[in-house]
């Protein structure tokens, strides 16, 4: 694991070398700031409520959670497979696990960095207005990070499966949508109690509710973390596939 840091660092710095990163940050902050302001006035200054909306309790959040991880992750492996940089990396003393973990850590770190400025809202409001409940906000952030990591993990798997950046982008969008919508769709398919139980397990937004209401539920954490681990495990296997063709 000696090389993990070097790989992840180069990955992260190269993200910031492209204008896409800054564009995403700009749009993200404008989008979040605008809606935060709107909801703050709609909710008549209920700060913690508004924060909960920002951190997952709204379509505003889910649109970003679907689009941004796909945008920052889809090309990570696919582009290197196509350009041949993968060959350069894998003929240096780097293990497949290190490689995939680094490819995950970079966008995951970016996702966290993206959210850091929004935490200033809390500071600003507690200085000049009403302070939010910090515990609830913190739980909300934990949830936001984990959900983002799930999408990034899944998108990375997609990225490992193709050499076409466009295909991987479309597939990443599609899968992220599916992760959110399929559990909802299951309600229309069947109202059977056992089906409902399954649906509750895999329902990403519903698992998330607990975080935005300030409860750190170990069930949800286990679900998110195991999804991430599974996606990364499959991504490592997919990168290894080149060896067995």
């Amino acid at each position: 694991m000696r090389n993990l840091f070097h790989l992840a660092w180069r990955e992260l710095t190269s993200m910031f070398l492209s204008p896409l990163a800054y564009l995403i940050m700009l749009v993200f902050l404008l989008w979040n700031g605008w809606w935060f302001r709107v909801y703050l006035s709609v909710r008549q200054g209920a700060v913690t409520e508004t924060y909960a909306i920002l951190l997952g309790n709204s379509l505003i959040f889910w649109i970003m959670a679907i689009v941004i991880p796909a945008a920052i992750t889809h090309a990570r492996i696919a582009a290197e497979k196509k350009s041949g940089v993968l060959e350069m990396t894998m003929t240096a003393p780097v293990s497949d696990v290190e490689y995939v973990l680094a490819k995950f850590l970079a966008p995951a770190t970016f996702w966290v960095i993206l959210w850091i400025p929004t935490s200033f809202y809390a500071w600003f409001l507690s200085e000049f207005g009403q302070a939010p409940e910090f515990g609830r906000v913190a739980a909300g952030y934990l949830g936001v990070f984990l959900v983002g990591f799930v999408f990034i993990g899944v998108d990375l798997l997609v990225s490992a499966m193709t050499t076409s950046v466009i295909v991987s982008l479309l597939m990443a969008f599609f899968l992220n949508f599916a992760l959110v919508l399929v559990p909802l769709g299951l309600d229309f398919v069947s109202q059977d109690p056992s089906m409902r139980k399954i649906r509750n397990y895999i329902d990403l937004p519903q698992q998330f509710q607990t975080f935005s209401s300030g409860v750190v539920d170990s069930r949800a954490i286990v679900f998110y973390v195991s999804t991430i681990v599974l996606a990364l495990f499959l991504a490592v296997r997919t990168v290894e596939v080149r060896k067995w063709r």
Binding site: H6, R10, S83, M88, T91, A92, P93, K243
Partner: protein
């Protein structure tokens, strides 16, 4: 100890066999050229050697480590320059080389000096702050070479290192590789014949995934024919020459006028029978006008080997593949390869 030892390497992509039962050794300090037409299996062989993909069967040992079991150790001891030199376009030259040095485990204290040294040796010092994506092909090639050298590996594997360069650059890179050969074991692939001539001490000719010939350049080029012009009755001249040692075949080629006939003598590998032939001719009382050893160019060897290895000329064999069947048209070349294996 040999630096690279390849035994019965076979690599299949689905139903296509890219490399078919290839065995060779590269001794420490050698510069060996892997020569073959496009699609012969050179790059595949090199990708197996550099641990990018494993072989379907066979064993490959590099610097004493098995490429499958001790893959990381192998990768630490080689510098690999892939074909087309894929480099991340967004990085600066110095950043990239520093990053590669880190990956390859160059200790922090030596890193700056190492990176500076390889940039100097490869002539990229003047572009160290440039973004790789904006560099010309020649500079990218040099950056790739610098990358291969940055951890000072004992073995260099260079896949078509001069492809896409202009003549001046080709010359420069060749000279540089030759210089590197003083300190590193080098296996390089190419389909450019003069390149092998200029750089390599030994050649492995590979065609259609199989080794067609393998020997030192000197041996490959060694004369294989004597051309003789003698006056006399062809049949009796032939009879006199057939007894000479080292000659495998005597053939009357053409009438050369004035009663002279031109004869073609085929020589056994490595034999030089000029003296004995002259003696046999004069003691037989045949006037001698010309006696000349015809050396073959590497191109002759290459073309002969490659055409002998055309799929149509090769009997279809059932799997599993037996090691070296010598029964086809390349018997001589295969024998040479076997001889090299035994060494």
């Amino acid at each position: 100890m040999s630096s690279i030892s390849v035994q019965h390497l076979t690599k299949r992509y689905g139903t296509i066999t890219a490399v078919d039962d290839v065995s060779f050794e590269v001794g420490s300090g050698e510069i060996v050229g892997l020569l073959g037409p496009n699609g012969a299996g050179k790059s595949t062989t090199m990708r197996v050697l550099s641990c990018f993909m494993p072989a379907t069967s066979g064993s490959v040992v590099v610097n004493g480590f098995d490429v499958v079991r001790r893959s990381l150790a192998v990768r630490r001891s080689i510098g690999y320059l892939p074909e087309n030199v894929p480099l991340p376009a967004e990085m600066r030259v110095i950043e990239y080389l520093d990053y590669r040095a880190k990956l390859k485990g160059v200790p922090r204290r030596e890193r700056r000096a190492r990176v500076g040294e390889v940039m100097l040796r490869c002539g990229v010092r003047n572009v160290e702050r440039r973004i790789i994506g904006q560099l010309s092909k020649g500079y990218r090639q040099r950056v790739g070479l610098a990358d291969a050298l940055v951890h000072d590996p004992p073995i260099l594997i260079l896949d078509e290192p001069t492809v896409g360069l202009d003549p001046a650059q080709i010359r420069e890179v060749r000279a540089f590789i030759k210089e590197l050969g003083e300190r590193h074991t080098i296996l390089l692939s190419t389909h450019i014949l003069p390149e092998v001539d200029l750089i390599c001490g030994r050649v492995i000719i590979i065609a259609n995934g199989r080794i067609g010939a393998e020997d030192s350049l000197e041996n490959l080029r060694r004369g294989r024919r004597i051309v003789l012009e003698v006056r006399g009755e062809p049949r009796s001249v032939e009879a006199a020459l057939a007894r000479v040692r080292g000659i495998t075949n005597v053939r009357f080629d053409a009438d050369a006028g004035a009663g002279f006939g031109r004869f073609d003598l085929e020589l056994r590998d490595g034999a030089d029978a000029r003296e004995d032939v002259a003696r046999a001719v004069t003691s037989g009382g045949f006037p001698l006008r010309e006696l000349r050893l015809e050396t073959q160019s590497l191109e002759d060897v290459f073309i002969r080997t490659v055409s002998a290895e055309e799929p149509s000329a090769r009997p279809v064999r059932p799997e599993p593949v037996p090691p070296h069947d010598g029964g086809d048209a390349v018997a001589g070349a295969a024998a040479a390869a076997r001889g090299a294996d035994a060494r």
